[in-house]
């Protein structure tokens, strides 16, 4: 189909007439120069619309027009920003031929015009999701794509508060907060205590998980259920339970204090204890799954080759489960550092970072505690990401090296 000159010319004349009427009509519309620019961009849009009609079907044209209407209503009617409308209209008309760019354009308009106070933190994840869906579209059905898109957007909405929080404070404010000695010590305490808690869990949790994966004893199901108990108990209940057992005035707390001079409540050991309690299920459950994934046949093979059960554990089961164990330790670590309820009740001093955020909030309000919260968030996420990527980058590497030395 050749270019439709005739309808084009008619449309152009109509457009010119419309602008002329609007410009000459009484009332405060726009200045003549704005009308001229509007006329120019509208004429360009008309040209692009005719190109669309020439290449595609009427459906494409309808799509083009509805996009135009959305832009018009949004920017001219609701926001009354004519210059932005002119700019975006020219962009829109030019990009219409490419669905990928058009999608990014739509997201851009949505985030920077509609969600303007949240522009960056909404545009970045949405653009990433759109790009991911775009790349996946050839490999799967529309239904799966829709499921993926809806799910990812919902997930983003769920994590949006965190994203928004990170964008709130300038790097300078964060740096000032980081230089405060109470913030530093709280963050160090949090990182150290949760690392210690994770190691403490690993020492008994990994052997327990291995045993549960390998022997079917009486009461095994009960044990597996009991492991989950810390997950379902409210944190405040955990804190109270610890205070009742070990706090000042309790028989065991007094006895430990008098016999060994150990005070647990309100000390580092109290923090670690509370963290061990809440984080243990995550490590044990993940380790159990990891050990169940190691074929028992490999352990039998190892035994017939002369390895004792302990040697088999160290040389076969542990390395083959190592990735799962690492993930379990990361989860436990993350759970430990995020623990707040039990810690604030049972061991409110020394201050861990989550408790510090809380006390700052009570003392001075959300704005004051915000930089500390942001710092804690960034540090946790950073360590989490590094640990997650670490083991996946180096599977079995240390084991291979150990062998090569032997040959």
């Amino acid at each position: 189909m050749s270019f439709p000159w005739k309808p084009g010319l008619v449309g152009l004349l109509l457009l010119a007439a419309l602008h002329l009427v609007l410009a000459l009509s009484p009332g405060p519309t726009f200045s003549p120069s704005t009308h001229l620019a509007l006329f120019g961009s509208n004429a360009y849009a008309l040209y692009c619309a005719l190109l669309v009609l020439q290449r595609g079907s009427g459906k494409h044209l309808a799509l083009f027009v509805s996009g135009y209407m959305i832009l018009f209503i949004l920017l001219m009617v609701l926001l009354n920003r004519s210059s932005l409308f002119i700019l975006l209209l020219v962009l829109y008309a030019s990009l219409f031929g490419s669905p990928l760019l058009l999608g990014f354009f739509a997201l851009f308009v949505l985030c920077f015009v509609v969600l303007q106070p949240y522009a960056f933190e909404s545009f970045i994840p949405l653009a990433l999701i759109y790009a991911a869906l775009w790349r996946a579209r050839a490999r799967t059905s529309r239904f799966v794509l829709a499921c993926l898109g809806v799910g990812l957007v919902a997930l983003c909405a769920l994590l949006f508060p965190l994203l928004h929080l990170v964008m709130q404070d300038s790097a300078q404010t964060l740096w000032l907060a980081l230089k405060r000695s109470d913030v530093q010590s709280a963050i160090w305490l949090s990182v150290a205590s949760s690392t210690l808690a994770t190691l403490l869990i690993a020492v008994w949790g990994i052997p327990l998980a291995y045993a549960l994966a390998r022997v079917d004893f009486w009461g095994r199901r009960v044990v597996e259920t009991v492991i989950d108990i810390p997950i379902l108990i409210p944190q405040s209940v955990v804190g109270i339970a610890f205070i009742v057992l070990l706090g000042p005035g309790s028989p065991m707390g007094e006895a430990l204090d008098q016999l060994f001079g150990i005070q647990i409540a309100g000390r580092l050991i109290g923090v670690v204890l509370a963290q061990v309690f809440v984080a243990a299920p995550f490590l044990i459950k993940t380790a159990l799954t990891a050990f169940q994934g190691v074929p028992e046949e490999l352990e039998l093979a190892s035994r017939t080759l002369g390895a004792s059960p302990a040697q088999t554990f160290w040389r076969i089961s542990l390395p083959l489960a190592s990735r799962g164990l690492m993930i379990g330790m990361i989860l436990a670590w993350a759970r430990a550092i995020s623990e707040f309820g039990a810690v604030i009740l049972f061991a409110s001093s020394p201050l861990t970072a989550p408790v510090l955020v809380h006390t700052e909030f009570l003392r001075a309000g959300a704005t004051e505690s915000r930089p500390i919260a942001t710092l804690l968030l960034i540090i946790c996420l950073w360590i989490f990401v590094v640990l997650q990527l670490g083991p996946s980058l180096a599977p079995f590497a240390w084991q291979r090296r150990a062998d090569r030395g032997a040959r």
Partner: protein
């Protein structure tokens, strides 16, 4: 030498009962029977992965009934190789030596020896995931032989292989058996495999050994129709024997069905 005396062991609903067998030193025996006969369980019991409820097991005249697997001097080759995925081929072969604390030189020497015998030099630095079925079984064989077992147990080692690899490895097995002066017990449900390899066979069904003897003796005088059919020679079918009938009954009356349903994957456990 492998000697079973009245071995009995229950595995849930399945029962290995009253097994007597003697495999003399240096002989190559097959344990022949249909799928689900309990052959693999018996093999694992000899390897020490299960202990019998009753009865005695002797390996080279040494009581081994309840000995730990690592103390028995038994090599076991699994149907699906069971190579360690986090070691390469050389690491798999020397694994048994490594856990015994053998010196580097000793490991090196033994590795070279096995690589030469089994022609593995091309595979040596390969990750095990990249091996074909036949290659993996040869490596598994080398791994089992590295620790100089007196007894070699093979659990359908040719099971998952294609025709070509099967013929090749079959030859290898017999050669290795002779070269290393092993006592070998080889589990299979394939009578051709048994004929090609074995000095003698034990016929198993329903958790019981219903006849044992040299291949020719079994051919000449099968105890009952089931044995004859298993050996592919139904014309010789004699009258039925109560032992066979009982065993077949336990196996769910499978004696009447074609005994060698071409099904892979053995053992109820």
């Amino acid at each position: 030498m492998i000697r079973l005396e009245n071995i009995t062991r229950r595995f849930g609903a399945f029962l290995l009962e009253g097994l007597d067998l003697e495999v003399p030193r240096g002989q190559y025996w097959v344990l022949l029977g249909p799928s689900g006969a309990g052959k693999t369980l018996l093999l694992h019991l000899i390897a020490g992965l299960h202990h019998p409820d009753r009865g005695r097991l002797l390996l080279d005249d040494v009581e081994a009934t309840t000995a730990a697997p690592e103390k028995r001097g038994v090599g076991l080759v699994f149907q699906r190789s069971a190579l360690f995925p986090h070691h390469d081929v050389a690491g798999n072969i020397t694994y048994g030596l490594a856990v015994r604390g053998a010196s580097t030189a000793e490991r090196r020497r033994r590795l070279d020896e096995l690589v030469e015998t089994l022609d593995l030099s091309a595979l040596l630095q390969r990750p095990v995931a990249s091996l074909s079925g036949g290659e993996a079984q040869r490596v598994a064989l080398a791994r089992a032989l590295a620790v100089r077992p007196r007894v070699l147990l093979l659990d359908e080692p040719l099971g998952p292989l294609d025709f070509h690899a099967r013929a090749e490895l079959q030859e290898e097995l017999r050669r290795v058996h002779d070269a290393f002066e092993l006592t070998t017990l080889h589990v299979t449900h394939d009578r051709e495999e048994a004929r090609a390899l074995a000095d003698a066979a034990a016929i198993m069904v329903g958790g019981q050994i219903i006849q044992a003897g040299s291949m020719s003796a079994l051919q000449q005088a099968p105890r009952c129709r089931f044995v004859a059919r298993l050996l592919g020679d139904e014309e010789r079918a004699p009258t039925d024997h109560p032992l066979c009938e009982e065993a077949c009954l336990r196996a769910g009356g499978r004696c009447d069905a074609p005994p060698l349903a071409a099904k892979r994957g053995d053992a109820p456990a």
